[in-house]
Each structure stands twice: as structure tokens, then as C-alpha cells.
Amino acid sequence: MARRRRKKSGHGRQPSPLPLTSMMDILTVLLLFLLKSFVVEGEVITPVPGVDLPESSSETKPRASVVVAIFDQTVMLDGRMVAQVEPNDHVSGMLIEGLAEKLDQTRAKELEIARLRGEEAEYVPRIAIQGDLEIPFELLERVMYTCNQSGFRDISLAVIGAS
């Protein structure tokens, strides 16, 4: 009896293989879907966490550009906080100092890269503004003014396009 029980649960039994076929099916479908979404045309702008972009019917694809994000009173440049703007603060005029300083550095760096590549003549400083849908125009205006002062005259507003 004991021998029989040992035989049932013993090492002599061939382990049944794990059925992986259904899992492979799921993974294949998932892989194809992800590959399709990976192959997109043009530049990709990733929304900055914390920024709720407004929806729009625009279908214009974004181009390679510096990204400025605005939400609450915070201004971020390429994912880094550069300024905190108090509402109704017009003591320092329209210019946002912290943003202007970083934009000047970014522009100088991009210009240097373009010069090294021999594309100095074609270089156009571009900026994409990711504004939270609740920000007031006053803040957007100050950011646009600062971008303009730093030489970024090609400005576009990032939105959630019609899918």
C-alpha cells in the first residue's frame, strides 16, 4: 500500500508540461498591438504627468521641439521645474525669469548642435506648450511672451487630438 502511494506521488511520474499555448496567443496579440502603436509617424510628445491637456479637433502632427508644461502655477521645461508663477504677480513684468534663463541655455545648446552638424541655417527654435486646461490666459500669455523674448517664435499648443 505504502509502496503504491509512493509510486503515485513518486519521482517515477512524468511531469505534465505547462500548457502555454493560450498564454502565447495573448502575448502574440499584445505584441502585435504594441508594435503597431510603436510605429507612428513623426515626433511624439508625451504628456507631462499632472498636465490635463484640452481636447481639440486639430490633426497637425507635432514636430521636434522644446516642451514647456504649465499647470497650476508651475512652469516646467523638458520635464524639469524652472519657475513658480504667483497669480497677479506683475512686479517683474511679463517675463518669467527662471524660464527665460533656461530657454536661453537650451537655445544656445541647440544652436551649437546645429552648427556642429552644419545645419545652422536651417535651425528654427521651436517650442510646444503643454498647458493644463484650467490655466488662465494670463499665465499662458506670460509663458508665450517669455518664449518669444528668448527667440522661440515658432510656438505650438499641444492638445489631445481627435482619435
Partner: protein, 153 residues
Amino acid sequence: MNSRRTMGRSFRSLVENDLDIMPLMNLFVALIPMLLISAVFLNVTVIDMDSPPEGLSDNQDAGADKPLHLAVTIRDDFFVIEGNRLKKLVIDRHEEDPETALAAALGSVVASHPDNRDVMIISESQTRYTDIIAVMDITRAAGLPSVSLLGAN
């Protein structure tokens, strides 16, 4: 005879073996997180901005050859459409469906001035960004793709 039987058995055992999909599994397990990170689930597009037209300050005497300088002002309670050679039009935002009324008014302006592609959107300091984008959508749909932003003050 014997050798043929042995060969047949070994061939059968070769065919009956399960396909070794573990390397493929490993590849998938590495690829899927990488693609998930870079996947684009939100279709982010852009609206290109233009600079406001030159010579806005001297648009008081509206001659026949003056540019239209079409402007949509977003107030708390009204949309105002104005420009050179245009009768000022005020749309109450508390009325039913003011966006449709704005679209219709802009449509008639575009019909009467087919050469004009520019529009200025004038906002007050506390106008919400989402309202500005909504008006931009209306102007674009009406056939005015070149948009610039201005402050009311």
C-alpha cells in the same frame, strides 16, 4: 527489419516532442514591457500659432484696402466678432448653444471675405485655456486656420 522499427520509433518520439517555446516566451517577456513603456495611447497633436498681424494700432480708419483684421474676443458673458469693414457682432454666451451661433457668424464672415485666412483670438486674463482652444476649433472649422492670440488688456 529491426533497425527500421528502431528508426521509426525514434522518429515518432522526435515528432511527438513538444515545441520548445521557452526562448520565444523569454523574448516576449522582454519585448512587451519595453513596448508598453513606449506605447502611445494618447494622440497628442498640436495647434500652430501665428504672430498677430502688423499695424493693429492704426486700424481705426477702415479704408477699402485695409486688411480685415478679424478678431474674436472671449469675454465672460459674450463672444464679440469684429474687424475692419465688419459690423461688430455680439453673441451672448448664456444663450442656448453659443458655439453654434459663433460658428455660423464666422461662417458668414468667411463667405463674405474668402481671401482672409487669419483670425485673432483676444482673451481676458482669467479666460480658461480650454475655452480658448474651443474657440480655436470653431475658427478652424469655419475656414480660418491661421490663428494668433492676444490679451484684452
